[in-house]
């Protein structure tokens, strides 16, 4: 007994770290471990209080069995097969018992580092599906937040309303994700795939940077707050295949990779926030339309 305690005192950093883990998780009352001496005293007192069964690992036995092994078991690191990940939840206790025989110091180090990683790995393993998109947005609030980041709001699906108006002479500079487009009524735009909308969905693009018409121009700082651009999702499609070929000459290195980008085609239906000219213009811009374009009035 005294020999083992003496051994504890001689081994410094791993024991201190694991003792910190012990005190942090299982014994919230013992929080004063500034001095190493006091720490050792506390730990020794704690160890003496808990009846230690296995001599090599005084920490892992009775105090916190589930938490330590729940974090420790990372099937991926030890086996290449993904089946072990699914066994993880059921088999934590079984494999935890096996770990008693291994070195305690290695477990201590990994526990401190892997506390946070374990949660993320659980989520990834639970949603292993055929397709690469695994995350399931269960709450609609999450979808709304993600849309706000992508500067689009999904409206209801298409019904029997006439959204496709004839051309109106008004344009807007709208930002979707990181790309900006100068759009007008009836244009079509290819953007990166927008996640939360289906085909024939109505969208409202609310990040509008500039609005313009033959009589008025509104410059946003950086966004025009009242500006809105209505669009309809036309298709979600894959772009043509691009072959990414890498070669280093005379080094026997050659790689070929195919890539198809997922795109969404939007058709712009309406631009709100600018005053549009009342008289309907013909297809070809006549001279009167050019004369209307006077010095632009900038209003923010």
């Amino acid at each position: 007994m005294i020999f083992r305690l003496f051994g504890l005192f001689t081994m410094h950093t791993p024991i201190r770290r694991c003792l910190q883990a012990l005190t942090r998780q299982s014994q919230p009352t013992l929080s004063l471990f500034k001095d190493p001496l006091s720490l050792r005293l506390l730990s020794s007192a704690a160890l003496l209080n808990h009846n230690i069964s296995s001599p090599l690992l005084p920490i892992f036995t009775n105090s916190k069995p589930t938490s330590a092994f729940g974090q420790w078991h990372h099937g991926r690191y030890f086996s290449s097969s993904k089946q072990d990940d699914h066994i993880k939840e059921g088999g934590t206790h079984e494999i935890g018992d096996e770990d008693d025989d291994s070195d305690g110091d290695d477990d201590d180090d990994d526990d401190d580092y892997d506390e946070e990683e374990g949660d993320y790995e659980d989520e990834d393993d639970d949603t292993v599906a055929v397709s690469s998109r695994k995350k399931v947005y269960t709450e609609e609030e999450k979808e709304a937040e993600a849309e706000a980041i992508g500067y689009k709001v999904v409206g209801p699906l298409q019904k029997n309303d006439n959204v496709f108006k004839p051309y109106e002479p008004a344009f807007a500079v709208v930002q979707i994700g990181s790309h900006q487009f100068k759009v007008s009524n009836g244009d079509s735009i290819f953007t990166e795939r927008l996640k939360f909308c289906e085909v024939n969905d109505k969208l409202i693009l609310n990040k509008v940077l500039l609005l313009g018409s033959p009589s008025q121009t509104i410059v946003g700082r950086p966004i025009v707050p009242d500006g809105a651009v209505h669009a309809v999702v036309e298709e979600h499609a894959l772009d043509a295949k691009v072959i990414i070929f890498k070669k280093k000459r005379r080094k026997n290195y050659r790689r070929t990779k195919g890539h198809r980008q997922e795109l969404t085609k939007l058709r712009i239906t309406n631009i709100e926030g600018v005053e549009k000219p009342l008289n309907e213009l013909v297809e070809k811009p006549s001279k009167s339309a050019k004369k209307e374009r006077e010095k632009v009035a900038v209003s923010a």
């Binding site: 055929v130 002479p169 244009d187 290819f190 309809v232 036309e234 772009d239 043509a240 058709r267 811009p285």
Partner: protein, 119 residues
């Protein structure tokens, strides 16, 4: 896949073989996912066809008289559903590299800029 509100995919033909092992996924797809897919797309004409001795595939016929064929041999039902959804989501246009990401008929609203323009 809806040009101005009109769905572009007219017909989807699901071809499978009842004996071959490569059709196992599509046979499971026809039992599990295909009825839901049909109900979700009432405008779409979905046919099932048995072809013996060949690998299974999905044929899509579009309104611009284009057709696309996707071979679904040895695929899981979820993958086949993904391919079917992609065919439904796409227009029938040819798969070539995009020239521009912005297609418009009226490039200028306030008049095209020239060097002679005075504000």
């Amino acid at each position: 896949m809806a040009l101005r509100g009109v769905w572009q995919l007219k017909k989807l033909v699901v071809s499978f073989s009842d004996w071959g092992g490569s059709s196992r996924g599509i046979r499971a797809f026809m039992e599990s996912h295909l009825p839901a897919f049909k109900e979700a797309n009432p405008q779409l004409e979905v046919d099932t066809e048995m072809i013996r001795g060949q690998h299974p595939h999905l044929k899509a016929f579009y309104k611009n008289h284009n057709d696309r064929v996707v071979c679904v041999k040895n695929m899981d039902p979820e993958e086949i559903l993904l391919h079917a959804t992609r065919l439904r989501n796409a227009l029938g246009r040819k798969v070539i590299k995009l020239r521009t990401r912005h297609v418009t008929k009226h490039p200028s609203v306030q008049g095209t800029w020239t060097t002679a323009l005075k504000y």
